[in-house]
């Protein structure tokens, strides 16, 4: 049975999801697992969509006190849109936007320099919204490439979440992210619609930069299904949920 925690350290993982099956549970679960299981964990969250309140609330469900880690410096939370601003909506372009992403990369670099030892975790919770609210595709591509570069140098794990709105037509950003990632974790809703027993299914594909000695992949036909509960996801093999058997 596949679990997200089975993935190796130091990888670039692209997580894609759809509106009917958001993949935020994977990010929260990965963070909670890291903070609980490591002796001296290091994690940095680049948050575009989710506020710190939700991160705190969901971590507390996994018995993790996020505030303690924030105070101790083992976790850093960066609100991306307070650091960078999209070209002004409705005209009046902001010429400093291009250098603003540099600020974020520098901040990640500084954190990774401080966090020596182990494999730090960097989470970018939503890269797609940056494109939707006005950042150019070129800037976002450069940003993701720069993030990948600093993470590879520090042997850090990078999780990037991308929203898919046209499942049958991959967009340019998705193509680019697939090129720079080692693995692609795909979260999809059931094609039959919402269900109380099955929230969605996940499959794992190799990215273009996947190492030759890969871990066991999961194709769509044998995708692992999950059900979201209050405390976290419950994974099970396809067709073995309580409502089926």
């Amino acid at each position: 049975m596949f679990r997200p925690s089975d993935l190796p350290d130091g990888i670039i993982l692209l997580i894609t999801d759809e509106l009917a099956a958001p993949a935020d549970f994977l990010l929260h679960r990965t963070l909670a697992t890291l903070l609980k299981e490591r002796q001296s964990p290091h994690a940095l969250i680049l948050s575009v969509s989710e506020g710190i309140t939700r991160w705190r609330a969901l971590a507390s469900k996994s018995n993790v006190n996020l505030q303690q880690h924030l105070d101790a410096g083992s976790l850093e939370f960066v609100d991306v849109l307070s650091e960078v601003h999209p070209p002004a909506a409705g005209g009046g372009g902001n010429l400093t936007t291009n250098t603003s992403f540099r600020v974020l990369v520098d901040r990640v670099q500084a954190y990774l320099d401080r966090a020596q030892g182990g494999s730090p975790l960097i989470i970018l919770d939503d890269i797609t919204t940056l494109e939707w609210i006005g950042f150019s595709a070129v800037e976002i591509t450069r940003f993701s490439r720069a993030l990948r570069s600093v993470c590879l140098k520090a042997n850090a794990t990078l999780l990037i979440r991308h929203h898919i709105v046209t499942p049958n037509e991959p967009d340019d950003l998705f193509r680019h992210l697939l090129q720079i990632s080692n693995y692609h974790l795909e979260v999809r809703p059931l094609s039959s619609g919402r269900s109380g027993e099955v929230s969605g299914e996940i499959s794992l594909h190799p990215g273009f930069s996947a190492p030759s000695k890969t871990i066991k992949l999961i194709n769509r036909s044998t995708a692992t299904q999950y059900r979201l509960t209050d405390v976290g996801p419950v994974f099970f093999a396809k067709g073995t949920s309580g409502g089926v058997l």
Binding site: T53, R54, A57, D126, V165, G193, S199, T229, P233
Partner: protein, 405 residues
Amino acid sequence: MSSFKRKPKSTTGDASSSNKPTSEAATPLTVYPGTRISPASTLSLVTSTGISSLDDILGGGLPLSCSLVIAAPDMHSSYGELVQKNFVAQGLASGQRVCVVGADASAWVREVMWMPDARGVPVRTSGGAERRQGDSDEEEKESEKAHGGKVTIAWRYEKMRQFQTTTSQEGETFCAPFELGSRVPEEVIAEAVGERRLTFVEVGRRVEDVLRSIAQELAMENALPVRICVPWLGTPAWGDLTPQDVLYFLHALRSLLRSHTHGCASVGLAPQMSAAGWGGAGWMDKVGWAADGALMVAAFSANPALSSMFPGHHGLLQTQRLPAPHTLLAPSDRFSTLRGLGGSGENNLAFRCTRKRLVFETLHLDVEGGTAERRTTAAAGTGQGPGTGPGRPKKKRVGFSDDLY
């Protein structure tokens, strides 16, 4: 001495007072007037949208710090606007602060519905009894008949609950019983404006300037919850908005609400922007990602086939996304009776607008499988329908219309 103690009665009928003792003991959460603690999380406060069935679909109400987008793609009806009016009316009735963002917002607020027994001041508790006395709506008559009239049924079905397609008005303290026939009294508006509980933000400027004004409203004070209502986002008064502007506005509004946890927002999308392809492929999904909750109120008026298929309803409700501010799973998935996700698939949802109110309910096919009339209509020129008599029409050649050309 008895070990049982009588619970002290609350002095007012306000929802906040009934919630306060338990909530304050359990958590340091401040329970504002017109709000209550979410059934899903003790960290969340929910407030009513003014429509109890919509509250049920949202999992108890709209959580504070969340935004909700109502898309109404039909150009010829205004059911989406009706939801916004209920939202504003509920805010005024429960004494919360309301900020309406739009062109000529003060005139729009005067069209908001109200409770039928209003006498110039917000009535929060006493509406129920009087309202029932004067009721003459067809569906309530029917339900009265069903409750009062003794119907003989098989004993094994006697304890079976009556089949319901919508939720009942649970407590009028949380969701006021508005009626579409009543208008909000001028005194209520004047009082709210005088106390700065009702404010307006003009549009027609840059989106950033509108957002700045909203931020000022949110930052003004936090003793009362603030409802931000945008009745029509994207109408000509807003200027020429691009899809990017709309998504930026929604995303920035959500960020504002995250930092001001005593606020919530309801945004109505203009009809042309509610169409699936307006902002490119996957437009409505993008809107859903940019807000905490997104619902689509799709009226039947654009499609006569649907209105004839479902004569009891006026449109369908599609849930794109539901707010979950402190939980992994949206509270609606666990607590919504109408969606019914407890152990099976999701119910289809529809709405109908009666003379008095807008009601969201589950959509079912009729007993006969979707068509109300099973019989075929009589052929033209016959009085009694098909039969064997002198009036029987001659047989016509039956063929495809294409054959004629």
